[in-house]
């Protein structure tokens, strides 16, 4: 939380510093989000230019908005530092290709590696190898099997996302013990989907609700539309829907509009700019969304730089960078959307 506040503070300062003239000519969200990564305006000496470090970056193919933003934010972060040389490997969903990329980083002797593995388990051995070669590995989003394979692990909180969504639904339906709650999940075979669903049902059971109808889409707009069209037939009366992912959420909303249904409210997931604009406008059933930060790889780049330069997190007393950071999954509603919309990703 404190990191978030600091980021917000810095971006606010950056916006003010950029001058009033800017606000007149651009309302461009990517501008605003990348300015948070400038790093010239933080309070500590950590951002002072130090030894130039080379950081290897590898992530899966940017085949959806969230993942595209992951890589874009990491690049923007690195561009903000004169002393960071970010080597970005071509995004790939091929595990063996990604292993080869890490091998190349090791051979080139980079100072640190930021790795968002396509499959955490499959990339664990090569990450261990990098660590043994003395290169700190920053594991982002999808966790390795072996804690020794990463110096720092930065994770979004999938279980927490489900909990946040569930708690929000509870808060809205507290007076309806027999309310119908539906869930549009993402790819069912992924651990992250299972964690999200687990968190959701755990949170719901705390207030005596449960998931009455559950369908799984594939994180794509088309699949979201398809499963939701069937879901709406399955449940003639719904009180709340949680959709795991705002990319597929465009399809979910299209299906809802097509069916002419509006007796329920919907909570999204991931936090795309699109979803936030809908929440802001209040013109659809989408009332809230739960953030799964797309800035985690950018944070990874920052931490990699600190590690390579032998620095620590300035807001902690400890002289080392922590081992694990789990990012918070806050709920965005019309009340606080202004606070988050600038850092949201375009789907």
């Amino acid at each position: 939380m404190s990191a978030r506040h600091r980021r917000l503070l810095t971006s606010t300062v950056a916006l003010l510093g950029a001058g009033v003239m800017v606000t007149a000519c651009t309302g461009n969200t990517p501008e605003a989000s990348s300015s948070g990564g400038g790093g010239n305006n933080a309070a500590s000496s950590n951002d002072d230019t130090g030894d130039t470090v080379t950081i290897g970056f590898s992530a899966p193919a940017a085949d959806h908005g969230w993942m595209a933003q992951i890589t874009a934010a990491a690049r923007a972060e690195a561009d903000g530092y004169d002393d960071v040389d970010l080597v970005v490997a071509e995004g790939t969903n091929d595990v063996s290709a990604q292993i080869a990329q890490v091998e190349t980083f090791i051979n080139d002797g980079v100072d640190a590696i930021v790795l968002l593995p396509f499959d955490g388990a499959a990339l664990t051995p090569i990450a261990l190898e990098a660590m043994q070669a003395g290169i700190p590995v920053i594991n982002v989003d999808r966790e390795f099997d072996d804690p020794d394979a990463a110096r720092v692990t930065i994770l979004g909180d999938n279980y927490g996302m489900g909990v946040s969504a569930g708690q929000y639904v509870c808060s809205q339906l507290s007076d309806k013990p027999d309310a119908v709650v539906a869930e549009v999940a993402g790819i069912d075979s992924l651990p992250l989907t299972q964690e999200r669903s687990q968190g959701f049902s755990d949170a719901l059971s705390d207030c005596g609700l449960d998931v009455d109808n559950r369908v799984a889409a594939e994180f794509t707009v088309e699949s979201g539309e398809e499963v939701t069209a069937n879901l709406l037939q399955a449940a003639p009366q719904i009180d709340a829907i949680w959709n795991h992912d705002d990319d597929q959420g465009i399809g979910v909303l299209a299906a809802i509009t097509n069916a002419g249904r509006d007796e329920f409210f919907m909570v999204g997931g991931a936090g795309s700019a699109n979803a936030m604009r809908s929440i802001q406008a209040g013109d659809s059933v989408l009332q809230a969304t739960v953030i799964y930060p797309a800035s985690q790889a950018a944070d990874g780049v920052r931490l990699a730089r600190l590690l390579a330069q032998g620095k620590a997190l300035s807001d902690l007393i400890d002289v080392e960078v922590p081992r694990q950071i789990t990012l918070s999954a806050p709920v965005v509603t019309a009340d606080n959307v202004d606070q988050y919309i600038d850092s949201a990703f375009e789907s």
Partner: protein, 369 residues
């Protein structure tokens, strides 16, 4: 089963049963009979739906939902039916849908459409599909590449191009007239369902009532014989892939209307759904035989299946298993029906089978017919 009993009964009282079975054979030779396995499977599915979900399944709303869901894959499957009957295969349909939808929703296209008319967007999608289909066809017919490989290459390339064009973002359709037009329901039936019906009817007419259709059967049945009979096989093959591309473009327009977006992730694995629907619809993968009615039934079976599963709140994994079972069961059932027909004819033995083979080859020699 019942066919088996009639054949064993046949020797006892010969004249009557043969008369009955031939009339049965006549019925089975019709479109309903050929798709008997499908009709049974579809009816069973509907019964399961009514029993397990009651009114939620057996409502007009739900029927329209199923039809709307069937529309996109249905249109693509019609094009696929032509290609497969013509002895080819088109693995690139999903990717072409993605490419067409992305191309039609780029900022430039949308800006042009905003200045003129949304028809421009729809036209762009269909044109892109047609051109990609043309490339497929030319590479296969004149480049002599195996259809499987050529369209596999197109699958990869088209989706890649779609990703480049869209910059891997989801492109939102801004044109409200476009969305309103396709969201309308003339006579209470959604526009997409009308489009599917229209494509299916046109496809049926094209396949069964025109020279183009007869040539398609001929090319798929025996390309060499078709060439000797004076059909320009290469040109016809190109036309088949263009047709498939056009249906992809049309499907892209429908998908844009349904999801209000264009995206490089549209149509993922659509080729498998389409091929599965075509194959359980009784179309031979080696070409030369197939029906539009069967394909439509095949599409409806898969869409109804996923509808029934969702109505009962079952997981998508269980749904995938059921889908696999249905593919195998439907094809097995069809083989039984086909085998049963052959068996029933066997008592009268050789003359009819020879005659069956005859019309194509022998009719020139029999002026009387």
């Amino acid at each position: 089963m019942s066919e088996h009993t009639t054949t064993t009964a046949a020797p006892a009282k010969q004249p009557a049963p043969t008369g009955r079975t031939t009339s049965g054979g006549g019925l089975l030779a019709g479109p309903v009979g050929r798709n008997l396995g499908l009709v049974v499977a579809f009816a069973l599915l509907c019964i399961v739906g009514v029993v397990t979900a009651g009114d939620r399944f057996a409502s007009a709303d739900n029927a329209l939902t199923i039809l709307r869901l069937a529309a996109v894959v249905g249109v693509v499957s019609i094009g696929m039916t032509f290609v497969i009957i013509g002895g080819g295969i088109d693995l690139s349909v999903g990717a072409l849908v993605a490419l067409s939808s992305v191309w039609a929703t780029t900022l430039a296209t949308q800006a042009m459409a905003a200045d003129t008319h949304w028809v421009l967007m729809a036209g762009t999608a269909i044109l892109v599909g047609a051109i990609a289909g043309l490339v497929n066809g030319v590479v296969i017919a004149y480049g002599k590449l195996v259809a499987f490989i050529a369209t596999l290459a197109m699958l990869a390339a088209a989706r890649g191009l779609a990703e480049i064009l869209a910059n891997r973002r989801t492109q939102i359709v801004q044109d409200q007239d476009f969305l309103r037009f396709f969201a309308a329901s003339p006579l209470g039936v959604p526009m997409l369902v009308w489009m599917f019906a229209l494509v299916a009817v046109l496809g049926w007419v094209l396949l069964n009532r025109t020279t183009f259709g007869r040539r398609t059967f001929a090319v798929g049945g025996n390309a060499e014989a078709a060439r000797l009979a004076g059909i320009r096989v290469q040109r016809h093959t190109v036309a088949l892939y263009v047709l498939s591309g056009v249906t992809c473009g049309l499907a892209a327009v429908m998908l844009m209307a349904r999801t209000t977006t264009g995206s490089s992730t549209h149509g993922t694995l659509l080729e498998l759904d389409a091929i599965a629907a075509v194959v359980i619809g009784g179309t031979l993968l080696i070409g030369g035989r197939g029906t539009i009615v069967g394909t439509v039934l095949g599409v409806l079976i898969f869409t109804t299946l996923s509808n029934v599963f969702t109505l009962n709140n079952l997981s998508s994994s269980a749904q995938a298993v059921a889908k696999g079972v249905i593919i195998v069961a439907a094809v097995l059932l069809q083989q039984r029906v086909a085998a049963g027909r052959r068996q029933r004819r066997s008592p009268k033995a050789l003359p009819p089978t020879a005659a069956e083979g005859a019309p194509a080859g022998a009719s020139p020699g029999v002026p009387a017919s």
